[in-house]
């Protein structure tokens, strides 16, 4: 017997996200690989005091037109709604954009906390969390604000910083195809942080362009094994 992981829609898939939850959101930049439908569903659902772990804080709908014709929703909507108390990521706001993204505005008003993490360190902290490791040493950030307050160690004559693992209550991710068991394949650069985050949350929720039957995905091509995936929603567009 297998558990039914397939949900009819994103609203049902995010319904039990509680106030104060730690949420990983896949994707890379403002739109690439972003689980947009799950993000918008979470905005509708309204959970508050969330900690969001994502590479980027999103630019919000207004600024998004500068990046992609027609504009789009991104994680900015969660900040606009005042649902987030803390952001952990590498690009809270883009320097090349006006300082009016929802997260940057909120931060400047002192209403949200930011933990700035170099992008590779972010990926590795998530991988550590996923793999049950206690942390790792990296040379990235030596001599910068990133090393502040962190344990340092010299290994083989080179200085390293100890970085600690990250895990989450929920991961919202985007994949190209899933089979009903939850095996996932991705498309192009929409892969990015999604496979890493899929492995590091207690509950991983994925939106996919296409849902297929077990056996229809080439086992050699599966990137995320189904054991990591808890909920699947097929979305269109």
């Amino acid at each position: 017997m297998t558990v039914n992981k397939v949900f009819d829609n994103c609203d049902e898939a995010v319904a039990d996200i509680v106030d104060g939850a730690i949420i990983m959101i896949g994707g890379f930049g403002s739109f690439g690989g972003l689980p947009i439908n799950l993000i918008v569903a979470l905005a509708r659902q309204g959970a508050k005091n969330l900690t969001v772990i994502a590479n980027m804080g999103g630019v919000g709908f207004e600024l998004s037109h500068r990046i992609k014709p027609g504009g789009y929703q991104d994680a900015g909507i969660l900040f606009e709604n005042g649902q987030v108390k803390k952001f952990i990521g590498s690009v809270p706001a883009l320097g090349g954009m006006p300082p009016t993204s929802p997260l940057e505005k909120l931060y400047n008003e002192g209403k949200v906390e930011i933990e700035m993490v170099p992008q590779g360190t972010l990926a590795e902290r998530i991988r550590c969390g996923a793999g049950g490791l206690g942390g790792f040493y990296t040379p990235v950030g030596i001599g910068t604000v990133v090393e502040k307050g962190k344990y340092k160690k010299t290994i083989g004559g080179k200085e390293y910083i100890l970085e600690l693992p990250l895990t989450a209550d929920f991961a919202l991710i985007k994949a190209h195809q899933a089979d009903a068991l939850g095996n996932l394949v991705y498309r192009g650069t929409a892969r990015c942080f999604n496979p890493v985050m899929a492995t590091a949350a207690r509950t991983t929720i994925v939106e996919v362009d296409k849902l297929v039957e077990p056996g229809q995905l080439d086992p050699e091509a599966v990137v995320t094994p189904h054991v990591y995936v808890d909920r699947i929603v097929e979305v269109s567009g």
Partner: protein, 220 residues
């Protein structure tokens, strides 16, 4: 007023540094232009931190696929032999020394080659993205930037006053006025924009420049 090089020309000069068969990462903004400017006869494998190796140039409107994008969110073209991977694998590649050259933008570069390229006064929420990883992990760091701020202040300084990306990581700086190599003996002025003199460029630079014995006009 004498003319300075435009961004396209700075990127063209930077692309001349790419050796045949090398793996090159292009940072956010101006460096992205290099993708379309590889010198003829050379093969370059562009790596993008969001998990792609071996992409082509910037896509035309007809070619745009928003799931094949570079680190600046711009759609790029696909080439035979290209591949995709996740962010953790991408940064293993970067930290592990598999990137021959990275081209990054900058707010400031110091005389020792310190790089400041992610934070500036009044914008505490802008992040470093993958810049710190790239600066620490790439074999060679090239900076492309404008020589001066909008207000005319030097960006090539004795000590960076903006938040650092990494210490002593920059090898070569290409600006709208000059090509400058960071060496143990200081900042060597290798090439200079057409029509400009060494004292003129020095006056717009806070750090001391050492004119190369074979100083020449910027060649494209």
């Amino acid at each position: 007023m004498k003319s300075r090089l435009d961004e396209q020309t700075i990127a063209l000069r930077a692309a001349r540094e790419f050796t045949d068969g090398s793996v090159v990462n292009l940072g956010y903004g101006m460096p992205g232009l290099c993708a379309n400017l590889i010198p003829e006869g050379r093969t370059v494998f562009f790596q993008s931190e969001n998990g792609m190796l071996g992409y082509g140039g910037l896509a035309t409107d007809a070619e745009k696929d928003y799931e094949i994008i570079n680190a600046s969110d711009q759609p790029v073209t696909q080439l035979p032999g290209m591949c995709f991977f996740d962010s953790a694998a991408s940064f293993d590649m970067i930290r592990g020394g598999h990137i021959d050259t990275v081209v990054l933008g900058a707010y400031q570069v110091s005389e020792k080659g310190d790089l400041a390229n992610w934070g500036r006064p009044g914008r505490p929420a802008t992040g470093m993205g993958g810049g710190m990883d790239l600066a620490a992990g790439a074999k060679r760091v090239i900076v492309t930037m404008l020589h001066n701020t909008k207000e005319g202040r030097p960006r090539i300084v004795r000590h960076c006053t903006y938040p650092l990306t990494a210490r002593q990581c920059v090898s070569l700086v290409i600006t709208d006025l000059a090509v400058i190599e960071v060496t143990g003996e200081g900042l060597v002025l290798r090439e200079i924009a057409p029509g400009w003199t060494v004292p003129e460029v020095q006056a717009l630079t806070e750090a001391e420049l050492v004119p190369a014995a074979d100083l020449k006009e910027i060649e494209l």
